[in-house]
Amino acid sequence: MTPNLHLWLIPLLPLAGAAINGFLGKRSSRPAVSTVALVFSGAAFAMALWVVSQFSSLTLPYIETLAPWIRAGSFQVDFAFYLDQLSLIMLLIVTGVGFLIHIYSVGYMWEEGGFYRFFTYLNLFMFFMLTLILASNYLLMFIGWEGVGLVSYLLIGFYFLRDSAASAGKKAFIVNRVGDFGFLIALFLLIKHFGSLNYAELAHAIAPLHIETHAGLFTAIGILLMVGAAGKSAQIPLYVWLPDAMEGPTPVSALIHAATMVTAGVYMVSRSHVIFDRAPSALTVVAIIGTLTAFFAATIGVTQTDIKKVLAYSTVSQLGYMFMGCGVGAFSAGVFHLMTHAFFKGLLFLAAGSVIHAVGGEQDMRKMGGLRTKIPWTFWTMTAGTFAIAGIPPLAGFFSKDEILWQASRVSLVYWGVGVFTAFLTSFYMFRQWFLTFFGEYRGEAHSGHGHDSHGHDSHGHDSHGHGGVHESPAVMLGPLVVLAILSVVGGWVGIGNRFENFLAPVFHSTATISADSFDAPAAESTSTASPAAESSNPEPKNEESEKSTELVFTAISVGAGVLGFLLAWQLYYRRPGLPAEIAAKLGGLYYTVLNKYYVDEIYAAVIVKPLIALSSAVLWQGIDRGIIDATLDGSAEGAREVSDSMRHMQSGNIRSYAGWVAAGAACIIVFMAWIALAAPWAAK
């Protein structure tokens, strides 16, 4: 007997919080606003925990239909929620990390204007994100998908008086729109060919189809879905919005732009694994995009000096890892990394926020340093996060990253090689940040709590803090840091002995066997792409021994890459702090290219944005809008006015002229009658 879980409550609780704060928050006190926000997001987390406690008694997937939404012939979409192992993990991440970040935000945003607005958006985000995760069909997922995009826009532009924040919000929204376009087309293709958007029905409809006959269709859908995922999850070529999104408050960067929203693309691709399993070319595209993104973003991260920008590029890079995992068919490895990344990247952002808070709004790492002893709690939690992301065992990042790299190596050593090099870069830039921030001498101005106006980030919200000197954050901010730090340390242990993978196996397994069947006949390329998914659930016993030793070697190499990154950062930024500048000078052009993010923004501006604006203003605005639409309206109005003007003179008030018109009209009628009688073609002759 499956109990009724009332899943619908989970998204609706934060929505209720958002509604209360949104409508009443302006007149409420800060404690009241934060209580409402915390109670409702905490209730969602409690519900999620309760769902976990009930999980073993469920028949999966558990589907809860609330109400019909769209009924058009045989096509129907319902308000329905879907729970399986994958959505359970996402549910825990979103509500758990989300709740922690809510707590942290109370401390972080306490002094800020727009306190109630912030928590309204944050709760609204939880609602949309949970809708995205729990939806039982792509259309409901799309609602959540668009909703988180909207809230992301609102929160990036939270300090909307600052021009850069407002335009960063717009950029995020517009770039996401490009991805959403691909997602929508993929949904249209699904509707056209399968007449449904329900996961369950789609899986049922797709399962019997073989790759030989439907590869084209699935490849098209897969690539379009990937376009959508690339927009939301900031992958090449649509990643440009995420670094700019750091204009938002730091808890937002942690929640939306690191832990949850940007992983929606990974979730969506994993959710669509039925399609991707049958589209090896699309999977290859996913893997290549992921690998390239991981590498390029990591190189940019090495040169950044803004503490949040480093983390932003790191997020892009880690998302690339997740897509690499999905792309080689190891969806569970991708989701595993998604989970650990949510822990340690959420932690890193929150800790960075705590650092920024401590130094009074400064974000430039070159003006930090020596903070180790001044803010020990932040230091130790951030240390946990840094070691986790660098892939040092036995912290969380090690297990998930190693799993992805191992799976990638079984498909192609190129993915593995780039992945390991990226791991080295990751470790390097993270320890660079760690050393720059916490070690050496403090390089900021004394008592930088005041005089913020002289800073580059002068309008950052923390300028209002009325304190002097470096200081530790309040307990309400440190609590979530500690919890996340513990999770970053132990969170990866669930992956020991493939437990995580086995837990997710029912989600990905059913199709893995199918794809293994359908791969018996076709080309070798497709076999090599998708078979790991099949093999990993049914490892062949005879190779197990040799595989184990190979895996150990690969693990050692990736750990070595992480340690190497640490040593290099230690050498460059701790022992000889003058050296990086010399190296940068030697590298010259290459360094500046990377520092300026490969000029991607400039290239996009020149190739896409400027022509688009020129086209819009010259043709669409001046030509079509002004020239045709406005001209038509103005012309008809002008014409009507002129005709009326001439007609007006007929009505002069002069009775004799009226009589003249009557006589003239009568004369016309008489002439017409005479013509009809005598000269018209039909006149009776």
Binding site: R648, Q651, S652, G653, N654, I655, R656, A659, A663
Partner: protein, 100 residues
């Protein structure tokens, strides 16, 4: 017997005189009389045709027209007097209120 055409020509002349007077005269009373002239021009053609075709309906129509004309004369003269009282003129060029 006088031919029909003579009556019709006279009727046409009377009507034309009425139209001309209606269009060119400025005095309201003259205009009023021109209208009567037009009506009588039409009346003449009615009775001429009635006599020609030995049909009584033409004659009856003329009675109707006369009755209407008498009523119109009563109402019209009342309007003219009202106009003269308010505006102290009967020149239609100065009575030009029939406009927006």
């Amino acid at each position: 017997m006088v031919p029909l055409s003579y009556y019709l020509i006279l009727s046409g002349i009377l009507f034309a005189c009425g139209v001309t007077g209606f269009l060119i005269k400025r005095n309201l009373i003259t205009i009023f009389m021109s209208i009567e002239l037009m009506l009588n021009g039409v009346n003449l053609s009615f009775v001429a045709f009635a006599a020609q075709w030995h049909a009584l309906s033409g004659q009856i129509f003329v009675f109707f027209v006369m009755v209407v004309a008498a009523a119109e004369a009563a109402v019209g003269l009342a309007i003219i007097i009202a106009i003269f009282r308010t505006r102290e003129t009967l020149n239609v060029d100065q009575v030009n209120l029939l406009k927006l």
